[in-house]
Each structure stands twice: as C-alpha cells, then as structure tokens.
Symmetry: C2
Subunit: 332 residues, 2 copies
C-alpha cells in the first residue's frame, strides 16, 4: 500500500436538495411515505414542486454530505459524482469545492438536468425525500478515476448508487480498484427501501468481501436481514466478519466486528429541526475518526457529534466548522 | 376609488439570495463594506462566488420579501418584477406564487441571468450584500400592468429600483397610475448608499407628492437629510407632510405625520442570526396592518413581530406563518 493523498474518497449521487416545510396533511394528499426516499421522474418532480411551498436550496447527496462533513473535521477528501453543466450543477460544484473537497468529475453537457431532491420536512423534524436522479444516471465507470481511487485510504460508496443503472458499474469498479491497491471499501445502505430493492446484491457485495465497513441505521439493518428483532439483525451483521456500524437515532450507535461490540450514546441536542443528513454526518464523523487513527469508540463519538450538529438546522451540510465543535467538546 | 382586488402590489427587483456564513477577515480581504448593499457585475459575481463558502439559496428581493411577508399575514398581494426564464428565475417564481402572491410579469427570454445577491453573514448576524442585477435591468414600463396597479389599495416601491435605468420609468408609471386611480403609493428608501446615489430624486418624489408613505431606517433617514442627528432628521421628515415610518433596529420604530408621533418598541428575540430582510419584513407587517384597518401603533407592532421572526434565521423570507404568530401574540 502506497502513501495516500486522501483519507476518504466518496462516490455517490450528486444532488441538490430543495427543502420545504410542510405538514402531514400535505404528505397524505400527495401520497408520500413519510420518512422515506422515493425516486420520481421529471414530470412528477415538476408537479410536486408546483404543489409544495417555498424552497431553500442547499447541496446534498448522501455520500457528498458525508465527504463534506469529513472535510469539515479536517479529513483529506475527494468526491466522484455526476452533475450537468447547468445552474444547479454549478452550485453543487461550488459548494463541495469551497470546503476543500477535490471534485473533478466532468459534468454532463447533455441529457437530464442536475439531480434534485425535494425534501419535505414536517414539524416533528422528519424528512420525506423525493429524488429526481437526472444527470446522476450518466455516471459511468469512465468517471471513476483509478488513480484517485488508489490515492485514498478508504473509498466510501452509497447504496443509492444502485438506482441509476450505469452507476452500479462505477461502484463495482471503484471497489475493485481500491482493493487491488490495498485500500478499504465502505458502504452505506442508504435507506430501508433501497435495501428492499437491492437486498440480494448488497448481501452479495458483503459476502464476496467487496465491503470492509458497512454503515446502516437500524431500519436498514432490519430490512437487510428481514427481521424485526434488533439483536437478531446485529448478530447476523457480526457474522459477516466486517466492521458493522449501526445507528439508532436517539439511542446512539453500535459498532460490531466478529470479536468486539462498542456502543456509543447519541450526542445531546437542544432542538430537532430536520433529520436530513443525520446518517450521512454520522458516517462523516466515524470516517474522519478512522482517518485520525481513532478507535471505534472515538469514531462513534465524532459521528454522534457531527450528526447532532446537522439535525439542529435545515439541510444536510454542516453549518459550522465541525473541527471547532470537536475541539470545543474535547474530542480532538 | 373602485373596489380593490389587492391590498398591496409590490414593484421591485426580483432577486434570489445566495447566503453564506463568513467572517470579518473575508469581508476585509474582499474589500466589502460590512452591512451595505453593493452592486457588482457578472465577472465580479463569479469571482466573489468562487471565493465564498457554501451557499444556501433562498428567494429574496426587498419589495418581494415585503410582499411575501404581507401575504403570510393574510394580505391580498401581487408583485411585479423581472426574472429570466432560467433555473433561478423559475425558483423565484415558484417561491413567490407558492405563498399566494399573484406574480405574472413575463420572464425575459434573452439577456442577463436572473438577479442574484451574494449575502455574506458574519457571526454577529450582520449581512453584507453583493447584488448582480441581471434580468432586473430589463424591467420596463411595459411590465407595469395598469389594471393591476389600479386594483391595489397601495402600490409599494423599493428605492433599489432606481439602480436599473429602465426600472425607474416603471416605478414612475406605477406611481402615476396608482394616484390617478385614487390609490396610495409607498416607498422604501432601501439602503443608505442607495439614498446617497439618488437623494435629490427621492426628495423630489416626496416633495412632488408622488409618495404617500415613506419607509426608512435611521441610517437611510440620516442619509436623506444629510444629518447625523436623529431628531433633526425626524423633524425634516415630519415637515414633508406624508406618513413617515422609521425603523431603529433594537430601538423599535417611530411613525410620524405632521400632527402625530407614535413610537413602538422592537419585538423581543431569542437570538439574532441574520438581519437580512429586517426592514423588508417590518414594512410587510406595517402594510398588512394598514390593510386590516389598524392604527399606526397596531401597524408598528405587526411590523416589529414580522421583523423579529425573520432575523432569527437565515434568509429574508418568513419560515413560519406570520398570521399564526400574530394570533399567538394577540395581534390579530
């Protein structure tokens, strides 16, 4: 394994979030499953956008949020994802680069617009996501710069990449290149519905040793192992003999390997505003912790801190320096 | 005076804000005058955007913010302003219509992009604005729908309209049509630098009776009458024999006519986050109060309430229903 230029390289859907406050009646009227992520086509996107209230636009995308969070904690980061050369794509590119992330994937000149996610936030802080994948569908293995993959200690992949057909191949290429270079591969399961769509493929990735570190929340873990019992699911995860990191909202997180189990509590918050990005930022903190050589407990604490910051405001990108926050809290 | 379909028609620059947190060092490095509004060209916009941090995009524009705030307080509202038919223009249009404002100005098909304001917010909550006027420069008297003007009790104009050359003519047309129909005309002075640019013209508008209600903050009032003494400036305003409404940040507001003076305190806040839109939303509350037939004290209280809401979060559009807030506070 040669020296690395990056701690973490993220590969994911490059999405800009349009966030609107709403209520449960609106979700019912529009037949939206609260708390989930639904894929919608362009016509539905326009219709839903027309129906919803005023929007606040902030860059998003699951793995992109994670990479930005890790950068905010001082990690050396890069990202691969596909935007179109349009206004929204320009904003995504600006936002991720402006926090120090290396991002050089060529934007699509033609085809669908940069991906947008209409994020509807109810007064309880729960978010319901409606994603138009747009230009993300044009991410292909050619976009995976092999030198960049080899240059990163960990390549971090989102399960949502299974949705755009060609992106799956990009995902597989990145994982293969990373392993050939002696690097580690991390995957987040993204969403329980995503797990329902691709359960066998995700289990295959794990069991064929393509994945070294798996991030999941408890709903995703239950979906993966098709059980409603947490201990059963956790035990199944332990048997995979990888590093499994499971988040449980206010109940904190558990990291398991075949030999070890480490539980870390959630970080206290003043007020839950918007859960968007909670899992993404937990992963950011955990991965940044690994980059600093921390043990699983230290990593879990950084994850909890980053998640706590992001759920106390709208949007899935940190509003303040997570490094300063970590210093204040004595975690750095 | 015939029946009105609208309480307030706003005429202003149609702008989308890109808000970024920054620090005083950045303002110094970029030679930006803290707290002001600076006009910048497209090249400078791109350069400043590249240099600044990640942005949150929210519709803005001074008169547009006021109209949206008044709509949130239940007023019947319409807006005239120029966007381009681009992604940003589409977002502006969606956001203002989605809160019930009638907005039908034809978007420009050609020429510069929809206006953007790069809003830099320092930790003290002060905002420094850098505006690329873009498509606003294409607002002309042809965009002023005379029937719409006649249909509104009050036409509300922003001083910033003096910046794009053709918009000034649109402004004058709207004021003339309104008065010919027996309606009232309100003007906000917008910004003390704007007053410096157009002092004689603004004083001319007031003294030639084109304006019935004038909104200003104390800095703008000092600039208008070129005095550093508040009482001197207020006395000069009183002598104009119009309704003068002056805001003084945490010290509340004063409404003066030739005969009367009414001071109203500011509304208490928990935490100042971003002053963007404070004056716009004060005007929103005041005008919505007039529409409800309130006296100047009632109007000032509604203005204070609306301003207090908007300065406690990022962006110049209300995040919650101001009508509900007014009901909770016993103002409705």
């Amino acid at each position: 394994m040669s020296d690395s230029r990056f701690d973490i390289l993220g590969l994911g859907n490059a999405i800009v979030d349009v966030i609107a406050r709403t209520d449960d009646d609106f979700l019912a009227r529009e037949k939206l499953a609260k708390g989930g992520m639904m894929l919608i086509d362009e016509a539905r996107t326009l219709k839903l956008y027309d129906a919803m209230g005023p929007g606040t636009t902030i860059s998003g995308g699951s793995a992109a949020n994670t990479i930005v969070g890790a950068a905010s904690l001082g990690a050396r980061t890069a990202f691969i994802g596909k935007v179109k050369a349009d206004e929204t794509g320009h904003a995504f590119t600006h936002d991720i680069r402006s926090v120090g992330v290396t991002f050089n994937t060529a934007p699509a000149k033609e085809g669908p617009a940069t991906a947008r996610c209409l994020v509807l936030v109810t007064p309880d802080g729960e978010r319901t996501m409606n994603t138009f994948l747009g230009a993300c569908q044009n991410l292909t293995p050619d976009d995976v710069d092999e030198d960049l993959v080899r240059a990163a200690e960990i390549v971090y992949l989102e399960g949502y990449l299974w949705d755009p057909p060609a992106a799956k191949e990009a995902f597989k290429k990145a994982a293969a290149v990373a392993h050939a270079a002696g690097r580690r591969v991390a995957l987040t399961l993204s969403d329980s519905f995503c797990v329902d769509r691709y359960r066998d493929e995700f289990l295959g990735l794990i069991r064929e040793r393509h994945i070294d570190i798996l991030f999941a929340n408890q709903h995703e873990l239950h979906a993966l192992y098709q059980t409603s019992d947490f201990d059963t699911a956790l035990s199944a995860l332990r048997d995979e003999d990888i590093v499994g990191v499971v988040t449980r909202s206010a109940e904190g997180s558990v990291t398991v390997t075949r030999e070890e189990t480490h539980a870390v509590p959630a970080f206290p918050i003043e007020k839950l505003v918007d859960t968007t990005g909670a899992g993404d930022l937990f992963a950011a903190g955990f991965l940044a912790g690994l980059a600093r050589g921390g043990d699983f407990v230290a990593c879990g604490r950084l994850g909890a801190l980053a998640a706590a910051e992001v759920i106390q405001h709208y949007g899935a990108r940190p509003e303040r320096s997570l490094r300063e926050l970590a210093e204040q809290e004595g975690l750095f």
